[in-house]
Structure formats: structure tokens, C-alpha cells
């Protein structure tokens, strides 16, 4: 990893974190019409994986997808405008927080149905292979989705056909309100790869260098035609399942400890300072730049027009009724 990449990873994580914190405020102010699912604490996964991808590589994401969109290069203004249901959003207000697209950047959809993205990513991988490209597809999903049939069907197919797909499981400990201990028969999701004859690895999802390295290997394998990989990133969902979640299924102490111990930006910032890649002053400057960028995006969103009711019909194919 060169120094530029190291700093880019930190900047991407900060952008995601700051955007999510602003969206939490916008939600409280009534600017976000639906309770958003925020990604705070999981930034290292999106940043570490997407740093290995180019614009022609594709991702599918989840209901908790803002971070993936930013890391994959979606314009943060359009992302925040979409979450705020504005006409200038990435889907003109038709998709919303759970359904975001930027195909020119390879964001082929954040999918609101848990587990729904994996078969689609598998099909994208199939197309990329049939079209004889060396591009890859990445599917982000949680440990909850790894209990869905789509996970098992998709991994079997991708392995059978050696598709260029990387399945990235963000094991954040909770499937909506149900803890992994209450829902999942294995401790490490990665061992499920064994059942499908593909490599499976577990990394610390709060350490962007670990995520980056695992994804790099998987992406290289996929580009070389050697097939899929399952990467499990252990992390922790610092916020509730959605904004406003009372989180009765876990203790406040647990979340407070996680906040102290599992901050991917602090970890990586400290690594870079110890290595001499970054000074505290440079960090402050980076943070100020990111704050300014996100503030500009928020301003853009709030100054953007809201769609009119009849804008709902602009794509109606069969106006019989």
C-alpha cells in the first residue's frame, strides 16, 4: 500500500462517518422521510474493499448502503439528496435510502430486501465472465443474510461456474434486532465457504488494512478467473437497526464499549501517525476538508427541490389506468 492509498482510505472512512452523522441529524430534523439504516462503525469494510475496485467493477449493497455508495465513488451530494428525497438525488427521489444506484460507478443497486443482492451480484459476475472482461462483482451483505437461502444458492452457483464475485459479509452482530448468537449456527460465517468449495476468510472489519488485504487477494483471484471468495468482516453496528431503534435487545454498556474499542477511523489514524505517514495537524486538515465537503453536500440537498406527486409517473410504462 502506498502512502496516497493509505491516506485515501482514511479520507473515505471519514467521509462515510461524517455523512452518516449528518444524516442522523437530518433525520431528527425531519428531512429524511424514512428511518435510515446507518453504517457508523463499519466504514473500514466499504473503504477497504472498494479501494480494490475500478468503475467497471460492480457492487450490490444492502439497506445499510450509504457507505458502499460513497466508497464506490457515488457523488456524496447525490447520495445525501436521495436520502432526503430530493429531485437531485441519485434516483430523483424514486429510490431513497434503501435503493441507490450509480451504474457509471458500478453501484448496481443497494437492495432493500435482506439477501436480495447476492443472486443479482452472481448474475452480474456471470455477465462479466460471458462478456470476457476481467471485471468483478462484489456483494455486500450482513451475517443475517448469510442465513438466507440466497446466500447458499449464490455461493454454490458462483463456485460451480468460477464466477468473478466476492461475497463480503459484514458481520455486525445483529440481524435487525436479533443477535448473531440467537440467529446463526456458526461463530464465523467464513467457514460456510467450505461447503461451497471456495476460500473463506475472516478479518477484523474495523481494521481497514486487514480488509483491504483480504479483498485484494480475492479480487486478484476473481480477475484471474479463479472464482469467488467469501470474506467475513467482523464489526459492530454502533447505531440501532434504524434511526430511532430503542435497541432493547442489547445493553447500553455493550454499545459504549464498542464505541471506544471499535473505531475504524481512530485505529487507522493512529496507525498512520505511528508510521509517520500522517501528522496530527494533517489529520485535522483532512477532517476539516471532509467536514466542508459533507456540509456542502447537505446544503446542496436541502436547497434542492422536492419532487412533485406526478413525478412518480415519469417511468410508468403502461399507462392503461
Amino acid at each position: 500500500m502506498d502512502n496516497k492509498l493509505k491516506l485515501d482510505l482514511l479520507r473515505t472512512m471519514l467521509e462515510i462517518r461524517k455523512a452518516e452523522l449528518q444524516l442522523a441529524i437530518l433525520y431528527k430534523h425531519g428531512e429524511v422521510p424514512c428511518a435510515a439504516h446507518l453504517y457508523e462503525g463499519e466504514e473500514a469494510i466499504a473503504a477497504g474493499v472498494c479501494a480494490n475496485l475500478n468503475d467497471k467493477d460492480c457492487i450490490t449493497s444492502t439497506h445499510r448502503g450509504h457507505g458502499h455508495c460513497i466508497a464506490k465513488g457515488m457523488d456524496v451530494k447525490k447520495m445525501i439528496a436521495e436520502v432526503c428525497a430530493r429531485k437531485t438525488g441519485c434516483c430523483s427521489g424514486k429510490g431513497g435510502t434503501m435503493h441507490m444506484f450509480a451504474p457509471e460507478k458500478g453501484v448496481m443497486g443497494t437492495i432493500g430486501i435482506v439477501g436480495g443482492g447476492m443472486p443479482i451480484a452472481t448474475g452480474i459476475g456471470l455477465a462479466l465472465k460471458m462478456q470476457k472482461t476481467d471485471n468483478v462483482a462484489v456483494s455486500f451483505f450482513g451475517e443475517g443474510a448469510s442465513n438466507n437461502g440466497t446466500f447458499h444458492e449464490s455461493l454454490n452457483l458462483a463456485s460451480l461456474w468460477k464466477l468473478p464475485v466476492i461475497y463480503v459479509c459484514e458481520n455486525n452482530g445483529f440481524a435487525t434486532s436479533v443477535s448473531a448468537a440467537r440467529s446463526t449456527s456458526v461463530k464465523d460465517i467464513s467457514i460456510r465457504a467450505l461447503g461451497y468449495n471456495m476460500p473463506g476468510v475472516t478479518v477484523d472489519g474495523n481494521k481497514v488494512d486487514e480488509v483491504y488485504a483480504a479483498a485484494k487477494e480475492a479480487v486478484e483471484r476473481a480477475r484471474a478467473g479463479e472464482g469467488p471468495t467469501l470474506i467475513e468482516c467482523k464489526t459492530y453496528r454502533l447505531r440501532g437497526h434504524f434511526e430511532g431503534d430503542d435497541c432493547l435487545y442489547r445493553t447500553k454498556e455493550e454499545t459504549e464499549i464498542a464505541k471506544q474499542l471499535r473505531n475504524p477511523e481512530t485505529y487507522w489514524k493512529n496507525c498512520l501517525i505511528i508510521e509517520g505517514v500522517l501528522t496530527e495537524e494533517e489529520y485535522q486538515q483532512m477532517e476539516a476538508e471532509v467536514d466542508a465537503k459533507i456540509a456542502e453536500a447537505v446544503e446542496f440537498a436541502l436547497n434542492s427541490p422536492k419532487p412533485e406527486g406526478e413525478d412518480a409517473m415519469t417511468l410508468y410504462h403502461t399507462p392503461l389506468f
Binding site: 444506484f101 436480495g116 447476492m118 443472486p119 448474475g123 455477465a127 460471458m130 454454490n156 403502461t318
Partner: protein, 328 residues
Amino acid sequence: MAARKIRFVEALREGMRQEMERDERVFVIGEGVGPHGSCFKQTDGFVAQFGDDRSKDTPISEMAISGCGVGAAMMGMRPIVDLMWIDFMTLATDQICNQAAKLNYMSDGQVKVPVVYRASSGASMSNSAQHSGSFYSWFANIPGLTVVVPSTPYDAKGLIVSAIREESPVLYFEHKRLLNTKGEVPEEEYTVPIGVADIKKEGTDITVVATGVEVKYTLDACKKFLDKEGISVEVVDPRTIWPYDKETILNSVKKTGKLLVVDEGFRVCGFASEIVAMVCEEGMEYLKQAPEQYNTVHTTIPFAPAMEDYVFPNPAKIADRIRKMVAK
């Protein structure tokens, strides 16, 4: 020279084959579409002609296969996903109804999902409760999906070609009892437009809107009984369940003043109810009497032949319904 007559399944296969020859983005994916050539030989010979990759056998993984269709279609391919039997599509409904149907809209048109989902449907030979479904109306209820139900070999070929060329998802249902019926089919490629009905028989006493195999059964009822009795039936085949051809249906009812809809799907919230509702809303002044529906009995489909015969429409029972309506 007499026109060539071939079977429905051959016409469907020819339509897919010609599209695969014309456009290398088109491929078939599904359980048994490989060397076996599909359950009813719909893809017979495809592996030899196009190779394993374009007539791609899959595991029994309806969610993954149907999602592969979505993903590949978004990337510019033209997948035909063969889900074998309509009954198995219940396993694929998230990918069909939440993903394929909606991604174009959710993305505000940034992605397109030109995928075809095909399955055999309908009653046939004691296939019983879990292999006799006709629930295409479910899918017509989802904005973003087009649903076609051809009834003749000619329409089977023309509609599969149109379905493959559509820019949005199309569900194509081939009734098992139609697969071996013969009809005139041109050798060259042609399309049957989606959303356009066909008057399969002109008449003056009553309009029968029939779908799939019920088109054949209604025509059989005319040939066997009603023509001789002097009852003149107009048989309208919508061919497309959604979007359906309002104008042709309303014009026919305007002419005859009577409407019977015959559909193998169940009545409740089904296609027949939709047509009756539409005609009542938009063509009440044409109606001389209350429109009627004739559907499969609202029950789980039984196994024993006598019970199976009892629950499904057939030509004799359709003739009875028509006689009663015309006599009123």
C-alpha cells in the same frame, strides 16, 4: 404452397433459437435446459448449436437463477430464465417481483432489466396440487412486469421474440396442454406485439375473452357444439395478461353486448375479475346483461382424474355457460 404447420413447443423453440442466432447476448439458463433440452424439449438441440454457456444448466436454485437473470440483464445480456413450472416460481418471487420488476423504477431508469422468465403452466394429466398452477395474475399485479400467455404456435413464436426484445422483464407462460398443439408458423422471424389482443373467431351473440388453453377450449366448444346450434361466439384472446388490450375487448363487447371471461386462473382477484371490472367501468352501456366469469374452482387441485376434470373448465362446460348466457 401450404403453410408449414408445427407444434407449439417447436414454435417457441424456433423463436428462441432465431433470437439466439441473431443476438449473441441472448442465452437460456435454468434447470435441465442443457443436454436434456428442458422438461418439454423447449431447448432441444441448443447445447449442440450454442454450447453449454448459452443453454446453461443450473442447480435447483430458483432464487439464484432468477437473480442471475436480473444481474446479467442489467449488464446488457438478454437472459431467458427457464423456471420449468410456474409452481416453482413461488421460490423466485423476491427476485422477480421485488428486483426484476422494480430496479428500473428505483434507479429512475438508470438500469434496465431485459429478462424473460419462462415456465410451463396449467392443468394436465393429474399433475395435481403443486404442479398445475395458473397464477399468472399474481405477477400482473406487480407494476413493472409484463405477462404473456400465448395460445397458438403462431403466437408462441411471435411473443417469445417480442419478450426477448423488450427492455423490461417479461413473464412468459406456456400451457402444458398447448405444447403439442399444431398450427401455421412462418419459418422466418416475426414478432407478435405485446399488449395486442387477437380475435381468434368472429361472432355476434357473445364475446368470450379467453386465456391460454381456454382459447382452444372455447374454439373447441364452438366447433363441437355451438356452431351447430347457431350460437355465434366472438373469441378474443388477449395474449398479454398485462398490459392487456382494452380497446379490442371493449369493441367486441360493444358489438355483442354480452361478456364471458374464461380463465384457468382462480377467480378471486384474478385476470377474469379484472376484465369484468374494466368492462363494467368503461363499457357498461354496451352490456345487455351482467358479465360473467368462468374459472377453475377455487380449490387446491386434486390428483384423481375425475376430481381434476371437475375443477377445471373444459369445452363442454364452456359451451354450457355460453348457452345459458345467450339464452338470457
